[in-house]
Amino acid sequence: MHGRDLGVNPDDLVEAPEPEQEGKQEILENKDVVVQHVNIQGLGRTKEDLLGYEISDVFHAKNLIDVMKKAHVARQKLLRLGIFNEVEVLIDTTEGADALPNGLDVTFEVTEIKRLTGSYNTMVGNNEGSMVLGLKLPNMLGRAEKLTFQFSYGTKETSYGLSFFKPQPGHFERKYVADPAPQTLFPLGMTSHTLKWEGVWRELGCLARSASFAVREESGHSLKSALSHTVSVDSRNSAIFPSRGALLRINQELAGYTGGDASFLKEDFELQLNRRLFWDSVLCASLWGGVLCPIGGQSSCIADRFYLGGPTSVRGFGMYSIGPQSEGDYLGGEAYWAGGLHLYTPLPFRPGRGGFGDLFRTHFFLNAGNLCNLNYAFRVPYILWFDIESVMCAGEGPRAHLQKLAECIRWSYGAGIVLRLGNIARLELNYCVPMGVQSGDRICDGVQFGAGIRFL
């Protein structure tokens, strides 16, 4: 049976093109190409010079596979700027008067983000919850600047924030952020540094009429203008349940030399080491510590001091309920240390393995810590940078301070279940046994619930 005669012999069709196709494939892979034009279509308010850095690499591609790889990388970079909703890549041969035989045109078709976006979300911090309303203007002036206004209303704190973000063109990792604290973040080898200036207008008030007089004395307005520097080295494989790696973060803050009436030097550090043991369990050791030195003869402000205790630090004690107190209100301290030893294991019998069950861990912990105020025999009216050692020794001396921190240690042990929320937060339900309780501390023995971001 013959079908309609289309004038084409089916045998010819099957055999003839094959050798041709193989020949074409060879040519495409090895052929040298030159990228002649890279276009970006769909730009509205974005300025082109900003994008030049992200797409410049595409010009260096030598063959077709390379062009595709580099175009893909450029697309990722464009998306990372945060100013486009969608980026599509089109690779085509060049046409036109100046077209080379092996010339290629790469076109990025982009859709820009809207000028104004709003957001409403709830946030969980260290044992407090809040509702956050945000208003964002992405790509305000065409160079990926972002202006964000945030209003946060929470159980403990109400705050307003205006933040301005501008990346350095060409070096997206180096950012300039004004929050309203201008800061720059830059990586340096393995470490990541942040240098920040912060200006804060604080108004402290008593929440209850029965607040102790020591707390009442601190009410009122103050202005803190501080420079701070943070170094962090993080080789962990995950922020929440790391199974290996270490984290070291050192932060120092100097207030008072750039205005304001809070004047102090504050140092604190955080160290965490993780090691995988038998059967998927992880041993984690962490150490926190900090010191606050007021400068210029005034005593430290309650808002700057360190606090210890609660489900996010030394478990088994009430929130921030360790250390110097007055009539039941805790005043915080000028020096502290806290350490924890944890053993994380997957849930017994591993229910929900590979899915929901992986978000949980059981953990056994041992926490210890201490908090105290430092007494300097006399306060120095100024600090010379090279003289810090002698200032610290001028008072009771570092030896006496270390001794104070080493006596009357509070510690606790227990076990519990931890749930991971996203990659940032944790919920914990623990059974704790506090020990080493000093008079004045408020304990929470038995079951304690905690939610937060930063845990000991």
Binding site: W201, F213, R216, E217, S219, G220, H221, L223, D261
Partner: protein, 210 residues
């Protein structure tokens, strides 16, 4: 005046420390009590009172005069300090903002000024000018002067809360530096009030320093 030991402490954040936002306040043991009325009641509950010797009619009269002083003298003082632009700019704002660093000092001083002006509008003094305020103060002083007469104190021979309150206001007006001494002059024109202030100062305050 009750003969109780007291220590006066000046703090920049006294207004914020007070549980009701108003000064003066006292800190006794564990308790903090603010404003004259509650302080008087507090000391009375502890057994010390200046007005025990008064009968009900006199007590009512005393309360009426104290209200007069609060409504007139206190409001006039606030008006002159914060609503008169010359005084506010030269004296009140610099003094109020002195404990704070810039720019907090400017913000807080202006906040206080707006707050006082709102209050003045609320009590109906917003539309008055300086002359009318001085007139009101004069009238109030005249009423007090008539009540005082030639007695050493307002009621009998013993000081009462009214004496304490009047002394507090008059002494402050006479000793505070303002852009013009018109207010002090008007008070000095009532000689018995002037000698009343001197007498109380000498009896209760000067022997502390001697």
């Amino acid at each position: 005046m009750c003969g109780l030991p007291v220590q006066v402490v000046c703090r920049a954040n006294a207004e914020y420390m007070s549980p009701s936002g108003k000064i003066p306040f006292i800190h006794v043991g564990n308790q903090v009590v603010s404003e004259l009325g509650p302080i008087v009641q507090f000391t009375k509950a502890k057994g010390h009172s200046l007005s025990d010797g008064l009968d009900d009619v006199q007590r009512a009269e005393m309360k009426a005069y104290m209200e007069l002083v609060n409504n007139m003298l206190l409001t006039a003082e606030l008006y002159i300090q914060w609503c008169d632009e010359a005084t506010a700019a030269e004296i009140s704002r610099p003094r109020y903002s002195s404990p704070y660093p810039w720019p907090l000092s400017n913000i807080l001083a202006y906040q206080k000024q707006w707050e006082v002006r709102r209050k003045m509008n609320a009590v109906g003094w917003g539309g008055k000018n300086l002359e009318q305020v001085y007139e009101d103060v004069s009238q109030c002083c005249q009423a007090l002067s008539q009540r005082l007469g030639t007695q050493p104190f307002f009621f009998n021979k013993q000081p009462t809360e009214l004496d304490a309150l009047v002394f507090g206001h008059l002494f402050t007006i006479l000793t505070t530096r303002l852009t013009s001494s018109e207010l002090a002059e008007r008070i000095k024109s009532y000689s018995n009030l002037l000698s009343f202030c001197r007498r109380i100062e000498q009896t209760y305050f000067e022997d502390k320093s001697s």
